[in-house]
């Protein structure tokens, strides 16, 4: 009981501490350096301050100090003239010092002029080189992925869209992390309403730390209590460039190799970038298979539980024997059996994801085979269910977007519980809840279930199927792009007679 009381008292204390801390003068961090110099030619004393761990010492030694010491450095205004560095700012605002200091600037003060400060950019940027996409891999097509440096990522997009209409707005988000976040869109294509919504949401974020774009995603989602991701995230510059041209909005976050895309819809999560690289027939069939697999993976185990628990009449007479004999020695009701197996699969997946790649794969395969076979032989699960669960797991892994894959795996459990509760009726109950939830969902205020509902015949051309590019005359209508037409359809080639 005492525990609870303590908890109640803790809060004010914490506040006091916090305020005490801010009262005292900030302690200097070890890497904060300040040194004074003297320019003998102009007889000027000046000092520089910088954070040694984020500035490039090379720049200081080669490009700053020699010039400051040897050239005609008479007043602070001269700094701009004599330094071979582009980003030099002269400010009067003392408050900026700290921000600039921690963003890799040198702070230059001249003893004669107490009012002005010069900020000289000398940031050291450590960038890893471009690598292959790891989540959205594809056999063919571009093989570069975003990296953690935002400038590099913007560069990747700029190269793909070298037009002046590609707009970039930058925000600094996170009271502690000060993360640079870029909002990108194409000025004359994107709907300004979408841009404004995204801008407002980004500006409204009040959080201390932004570690990844996923933080932004969760903080700006339309419905924060939904298992479904409401922004598409991608690590592929080609995909990001592609959606920019469709009129969507892309958000890049410094330190995150994933870009956010909005508005999006449910079906888009099942399209893989490869769909645009194959011929449209192959791509469409693959997409349909993917969607079917998803439905299958959600419904098959709940169906098994429902039918075996309540609806024996539904089972064809030739199948009854198979089902009954496979379950004969199993001591659990179907629901427990299914839950055990589903959880096992989830465990294997988690274990595989946590372990280093090579061991992970091995665990996956070995675990699957060994545990599966053993549990069947031990009479804990029936082999029919083992097949179904394994198939369902397989099917759930083909979702091209990782976050959507997770949502789908999560969905299976409520379905299972309701199947146990009310049989097939329970499954439909759950289905209706999911449909209602999806109907409520929006992405940047645009309906999430489009083009299914509201039904948009036109948008079907790139949803369940992907029609050939010459049929993709208009941009998706839920984006409500300013310019709807993608290209001017040439005069339809006249159909010739057989021999002409």
């Amino acid at each position: 009981m005492g525990f609870f009381f303590k908890k109640g008292n803790k809060q004010p204390k914490l506040k006091e501490q916090y305020s005490e801390e801010t009262d005292t003068a900030p302690a200097k961090s070890k890497d904060e350096k300040e040194s004074s110099y003297y320019n003998s030619e102009t007889n000027l004393h000046f000092s520089i301050r910088y954070i040694s761990t984020i500035v490039d010492q090379d720049i200081i030694q080669k490009n700053i100090l020699p010039y400051l010491l040897d050239k005609q450095f008479a007043s602070i205004a001269d700094v701009k003239k004599i330094l071979p560095i582009e980003d030099v700012q002269i400010e009067t605002n003392e408050a900026l010092i700290e921000e600039k200091l921690f963003n890799g600037y040198l702070v230059l003060k001249v003893h004669t002029d107490k009012q002005h400060v010069a900020f000289i950019a000398a940031k050291e940027v450590i960038v890893r080189s471009l690598s292959m996409p790891e989540v959205e891999t594809s056999v063919i097509g571009p093989k570069e992925a975003f990296i953690e440096a935002i400038d590099q990522n913007i560069n990747l997009l700029r190269i793909r869209l070298p037009v002046k209409e590609l707009m970039i707005e930058e925000f600094t988000i996170g009271s502690v992390s000060k993360t640079r976040t870029a909002l990108m869109y194409i000025d004359d294509i994107a709907n300004m309403e979408n841009v404004n919504t995204m801008r407002q949401r980004l500006q409204a974020i009040d959080f201390d730390q932004i570690n990844d774009s996923s933080y932004i995603e969760q903080l700006t989602a339309d419905n924060k209590n939904s298992p479904f991701p409401q922004f598409l995230d991608t690590e592929r510059p080609d995909r990001a460039a592609g959606v920019l041209v469709e009129g969507k909005v892309v958000v890049l976050v410094d330190g995150s190799p994933h870009a956010l895309i909005g508005p999006t819809n449910l079906v888009e999560f099942f399209s893989s970038p490869e769909d645009y690289l194959f011929n449209w027939i192959t791509a469409s069939i693959l997409r349909l298979i993917r969607l079917f697999a998803v439905v299958f993976s959600i419904l098959i185990t709940p169906m098994y539980v429902a039918v075996l628990t309540y609806h024996y009449e539904l089972i064809p007479k030739d199948l009854t024997a198979t089902l009954i004999t496979s379950r004969q020695v199993i001591p659990f009701p179907p629901i427990l059996e299914a839950l055990i197996l589903e959880l096992t699969i989830e465990l294997l997946r988690e274990a595989g994801a946590r372990l280093p790649t090579k061991i992970g794969q091995t665990i996956g395969i070995v675990g699957g085979i060994v545990i599966g076979t053993a549990s069947v032989e031990a009479g804990l699960t029936s082999n029919v269910l083992l097949i179904l669960v394994a198939l369902a797991a397989l099917a759930s892994f083909i979702t091209p977007v990782y976050k959507m894959g997770n949502a789908i795996r999560f969905l299976r459990f409520p379905f299972l519980l309701f199947a146990q509760l009310l049989g097939l009726l329970g499954i439909v109950f759950c289905l209706l809840i999911v449909i209602t939830h999806l109907l409520r969902l929006t992405s940047l205020g645009r309906p999430y279930l489009e083009p299914i509902y509201p039904p948009r015949w036109r948008d079907l051309k790139d949803s369940f199927i992907r029609l050939s590019f010459d049929k993709q005359i208009r941009r998706p209508s839920y984006v409500q792009a300013q310019k709807e037409i993608r290209f001017n359809p040439k005069h339809q080639k006249r159909r010739h007679d057989i021999e002409e």
Partner: protein, 353 residues
């Protein structure tokens, strides 16, 4: 929040409804009714028990009671696990029951939503219990008998039947029902030995033997199989009928006369005799049509005498008459003239002439 979770858990564990997990129930696949003394009914149910090695064991349980409905609840008490009857495939009535109580018993099957419409009602020669007690096939007796009926309906001479069609025929004015009759040959085999004809009250009154089953099917159903031997001046041909349909029409009113047009398309499967020319084929067509005419007319005469109407002449007459009076029809039916006209077309005669 905790409260809700607790509530939810309660629900999950209790459930709204009773479960019937398939490996924990006994599935009733067939049921048979025999006469017992004192106007009681002896009911036998057939359960399919599935062994681990994939074989099916036939378990029968028998009890004598006053009504057919009580039988299951009495047997329920004798069983170690719940007997569920939703997958019932086969109901067998002994001939004695079929002559008396068939309709009363069948009410329970029609009324219950749990049962499918495709289940078979059959009449057994001799005791139904004995039929159920055989060991036919590997997948259980009920499956065996219903499969046997299935394929004989599809490719043989048994006219289409199931629970729905039985009720349809029985309840349709100007039509009477029929049911297949099976006979146990020995412990491993059964035979579909005849078609039983029921009168308007649902009592078995007549049987059509194997010989006439072909003609009965021509009258009441469409063909997609079945074959018949036709003899012509010492030559002999086996004609396999691949399609047939019939059309029943009122050909004349006052006095009422009806005509049945039967169209048969077939191929010659076997031929013994002189060279099979086109002329010969035409002769066979004619002969076959004549035989059909004769036999079906004979059948219809028999129906008229018994006052039954499996071909649905009354129903057809009603369709072609405004304000049809069934009372008048009942009188007329007995001496109604019925013309049967058959049109046989032989499509193929194989790869040699």
């Amino acid at each position: 929040m905790k409260k809700y979770i607790l509530l939810f858990l309660c629900l999950i564990l209790s459930g709204c409804v009773n479960k019937s997990i398939i490996d924990e129930v006994d599935i009733e696949r067939g049921v048979g009714y025999d006469e017992a003394s004192d106007n009681k009914i002896r009911g036998t149910i057939l359960l399919s028990k599935y062994n681990e090695d994939g074989t099916t064991e036939n378990v029968t349980m028998t009890v004598v009671d006053e009504t057919s409905v009580n039988i299951l609840s009495r047997l329920q008490r004798q069983s170690d696990s719940t007997i569920v009857y939703g997958s019932l495939k086969l109901v067998i009535f002994s001939e004695a029951i079929a002559k008396k109580d068939l309709i009363e018993i069948s009410d329970a099957f029609v009324r219950d939503a749990r049962l499918g419409s495709r289940m078979y009602f059959v009449i057994s020669e001799g005791s139904a219990q004995k039929v159920l007690k055989g060991e036919y096939g590997d997948h259980g007796n009920a499956t065996f008998i219903s499969d046997a009926l299935d394929h004989n309906i599809k490719h043989g001479d048994v006219p289409k039947t199931n629970l729905h069609l039985f009720v349809y025929d029985y309840t349709q004015k100007g039509r009477t029902a029929y049911l297949p009759i099976i006979k146990k040959l020995n412990q491993q085999r059964i035979d579909i030995s005849a078609i039983g004809l029921l009168d308007r009250q649902g009592h078995l009154v007549d049987k059509v033997s194997v010989k006439d089953m072909f003609y009965l099917k021509l009258l009441v159903d469409k063909y997609s199989g079945g074959s018949q031997v036709v003899k012509l001046d010492g030559d002999r041909a086996t004609i396999r009928s691949i399609h047939s349909k019939n059309k029943i029409k009122i050909s004349k009113r006052n006095p009422l006369e009806m005509s049945i047009n039967i169209k048969v398309e077939g191929i010659i499967q076997e031929y013994r005799g002189k060279k099979l020319t086109q002329k010969k084929i035409e002769q066979f067509e004619k002969k076959f049509a004549e035989e059909i005419n004769q036999n079906t007319t004979k059948l219809i005469k028999r129906f008229q005498q018994l006052g039954i109407d499996p071909a649905g002449l009354g129903h057809n007459a009603k369709q072609q008459t405004r304000n049809f009076d069934f009372k008048k029809w009942d009188d007329e039916y007995k001496d109604l003239t019925v013309h049967v006209k058959t049109d046989v077309t032989i499509l193929e005669s194989g790869v040699v002439q």
